[in-house]
């Protein structure tokens, strides 16, 4: 049986998740040139926010169709509060410090958030199960799509469309573009850049929260370390697509996800490559691809189009 269509779908789903998280990296970088390494943990706290709503706020046995929107709200609330708090208390005081200071702060914050969830969230010392949407998998030809994945398939493009509209058409969105282009001039033109920066962090957190809920629905579990590797992958996706470019983040995510999946599925079948084909090598191939892309196009796949970055 030809497994290529299924593997492409697997990769697309994985990539859509990377993309959702990558948007947060790229927006913050586009505006303040900070690689917010704590973003993976914002994704994680979002997932835990959704879990909190389901496990501790809603009564037992609430239908997922009722619970899911409320869980999304919970996830977004928690993630935005954490992200805005991080901006206000960890990054803003360092706005004019050397570039490395906020970077190190971000790494510290990432560890602190992991440990906080580990220490204080009930039973979070090992993975917690995440509620699942009932209903069997869907079959399209010989491609199987899980119920939980439908959410991701719908959420990723919708979020992208909303973000594109927001950045292009609204007043705040244009303010973001202006700040990204030149913060000082934007300020002189009456843009409240502090507010724009907070909004960039908050928007990134919203996407991370949607990604966190999608992760829970897809894998059926969340844990305090889930954001670390995924955050690194999402950052890679953002660089691959062209950091600072919101469309690039999603494209980069999808390319990375498909590359990892195809490397797992097919490299072992090439003659003489059995040893380098397993999933444990997939990351190596993904980074080989990243290096190749950056050698040929240092600005990433879509490039850092200054006018668009936001």
């Amino acid at each position: 049986m030809n497994e290529l269509p299924q593997q492409l779908v697997n990769g697309l789903l994985l990539g859509a998740m990377y993309g959702l998280v990558a948007i947060g990296y790229t927006m913050v970088y586009g505006i303040v040139q900070l690689i917010n390494f704590a973003h993976g943990e914002i994704f994680m706290t979002g997932a835990f926010g959704a879990l909190t709503v389901y496990a501790y706020v809603l009564p037992d046995g609430t239908s997922m169709w009722v619970a899911l929107p409320l869980m999304l709200i919970g996830a977004v609330l928690v993630a935005v509060v954490v992200a805005v708090g991080a901006e206000r208390f960890a990054y803003r005081p360092l706005r004019n410090a050397p570039r490395l200071a906020p970077l190190i702060t971000a790494i510290g914050l990432s560890l602190a958030l992991q440990q906080a969830v580990w220490a204080w969230y009930p039973e979070a010392k090992s993975a917690r199960t995440f509620p699942q949407i009932d209903g069997g998998p869907f079959h399209l030809g010989n491609v199987t799509i899980q119920t939980g994945d439908i959410f991701l398939l719908a959420a990723a493009p919708i979020s992208m469309a909303v973000l594109a509209y927001f950045v292009m058409k609204t007043r705040t969105g244009r303010g973001m573009q202006a700040t990204a282009q030149d913060p000082d001039t934007a300020k002189l033109m009456g843009v409240n850049t502090d507010r724009i920066i907070v909004i960039a962090f908050a928007l990134g957190a919203v996407f991370a929260a949607v990604g966190g809920v999608a992760y829970g629905l897809k894998y059926g579990q969340v844990d305090f370390r889930m954001g670390f590797i995924l955050g690194l992958k999402a950052f890679t996706a953002a660089v691959l697509g062209g950091i600072g470019n919101i469309y690039g983040a999603m494209i980069g995510g999808v390319v990375l996800g498909i590359a990892e999946t195809l490397a797992t599925a097919y490299i072992a079948d090439l003659p003489g490559m059995e040893k380098f084909g397993s999933q444990s090598w997939a990351d190596v191939w993904a980074f080989v691809l990243l290096i190749l892309v950056l050698l040929l196009r240092p600005q990433g796949l879509l490039g850092e189009r200054v006018a668009d970055r936001a």
């Binding site: 049986m1 593997q7 994985l14 010392k125 059926g220 579990q221 999946t261 195809l262």
Partner: protein
């Protein structure tokens, strides 16, 4: 002048060794001074002996690690209550290795530096044990693992050809993968009647070792391996691997690894529509596996060391005491073995103290390590004693199956050639 060169080299070697020894002595001196204070304060009630514990107390594997810690704590408290070793009070010092070899080695150095520590229970992971063995052996500090199953830890890296004990201070109450893998292969081939297997491992010492011993026996029995895959334990996305399994036509999947990955792996394989059971070793034998794998995990199999703790008459008391002590976490897969490991240390200390007229000798560590070789008692998991390699003489194993959301014992036995 080769002769002269040799001398120079030797001299510098001596200098380095001397420097290292001086450093080590300073460290030990610090340790003993610290400890001197604490044992002075407790001198009214006799000597205090510390049993070190090293296990993953945080992270993915903490369910197993905390079970180990609590069970050792229970053993120490039981010995104190019974006044089992006259004039000696036991306490535990539990360190978290986060399942990382580097943390394990740091913990080992820390435990060695504390002169009150006369024995260590742990670690959980074979890969962590590898990094700790030498540190403990250099200090002649006895280490008893309740959970390490990699054969090389006791029988040397060439255990398949020539068995040679590597460290005299290392013992374990768990059975090795040399027995566990083949035992699973026999069950899958003879009892489940599955002839085509897809073998997956996580490339860690434990998982890869287990997968290799399983594969060897399964092929010997006449089965076919239709595919192999090594997963990346850092991820939770195994969809690409699951699709490969589905298309390989395998009847069963053997996974060498632990439950944090095995649970999602089983779930994602079943989600592709492939109705193949996942079989694993003691690393997946935990309630968390079923929680993570979801409702479709019914029929998945795991082998684990010994007979089921709940069914052994010798374990009733342990289970009751554990409940009574009110620990927050379950004793999990290795509770019984951890209790027995701690008790083996207590027995060895008892022997040493009694031979020395009721007091701890100055070279207590070396004496305890020597005494461990001859320890023999009826423990939670059956008779506890060690063979010439430090392996448990109790080589019983049990196959468990997931049924109604819980592990149910299916078949107990010992692997015979």
């Amino acid at each position: 002048m080769p002769g002269k060169g040799l001398i120079v080299r030797q001299r510098s070697l001596i200098a380095i060794t001397a420097a290292l020894a001086a450093g080590a002595l300073t460290l030990t001196a610090c340790g003993s001074r610290d400890n001197g204070k604490s044992s002075d304060s407790g001198s009214g009630g006799g000597t205090t002996v510390t049993i070190g514990v090293d296990a993953p107390l945080t992270g993915d594997l903490s369910a197993l690690g905390l079970g180990i810690k609590n069970s050792v704590d229970l053993a120490a408290k039981t010995a104190n209550k019974q006044n089992y070793v006259k004039g000696v009070t036991f306490k535990i010092e539990a360190l978290d290795d986060q399942a990382q070899p580097s943390s394990g080695q740091q913990n080992a150095s820390k435990l060695v530096a504390d002169n009150g520590v006369l024995g260590v229970v742990g670690p959980l992971n074979s890969s962590v044990a590898e990094s700790m063995q030498k540190v403990f052996d250099d200090a002649k500090l006895v280490e008893v693992s309740p959970a390490n199953t990699n054969p090389a830890l006791t029988q040397g890296p060439d255990w398949q050809k020539t068995k040679a004990r590597t460290y005299k201070s290392y013992f374990r109450t768990a059975t090795t993968d040399a027995i566990q893998g083949p035992f699973a292969a026999q069950y899958v081939y003879n009892d489940s009647k599955k002839k085509k297997v897809f073998v997956i491992d996580d490339k860690k010492t434990y998982g890869a070792g287990l997968a290799a011993t399983f594969t060897e026996e399964f092929k010997k029995l006449g089965g076919t391996v239709v595919g192999t895959e090594h997963i990346n334990p850092d991820t939770k996305d195994f969809s690409a691997v699951a699709t490969k399994v589905k298309n390989s036509g395998a009847e069963v999947v053997y996974y060498g690894g632990e439950y944090p990955q095995a649970g999602p792996l089983s779930k994602q394989i079943k989600a592709t529509g492939a109705k193949v059971p996942v079989v694993g070793g003691d690393g997946i034998f935990d309630p968390t596996f079923i929680k993570l794998a979801g409702a479709n995990s019914t029929g998945d199999l795991a082998t684990s060391v010994g007979a089921p703790v709940e069914q052994l008459p010798s374990a009733k008391e342990f289970v009751a005491n554990y409940k009574e002590a009110g620990y927050k976490e379950e004793y999990a897969a290795y509770g019984g073995y951890s209790y027995d490991s701690a008790w083996a240390i207590i027995e060895a200390v008892k022997k040493v103290v009694e031979d020395n007229g009721g007091k701890l000798p100055s070279d207590a560590r070396a004496k305890v390590t020597a005494a461990m070789q001859n320890v023999s008692f009826d423990g939670v998991t059956g008779k506890v004693s060690f063979d010439e390699f430090g392996d448990a003489t109790n080589k019983q194993l049990t196959v468990y199956a997931v049924e109604n959301g819980a592990w149910k014992p299916v078949k107990s036995g010992t692997y015979t050639g």
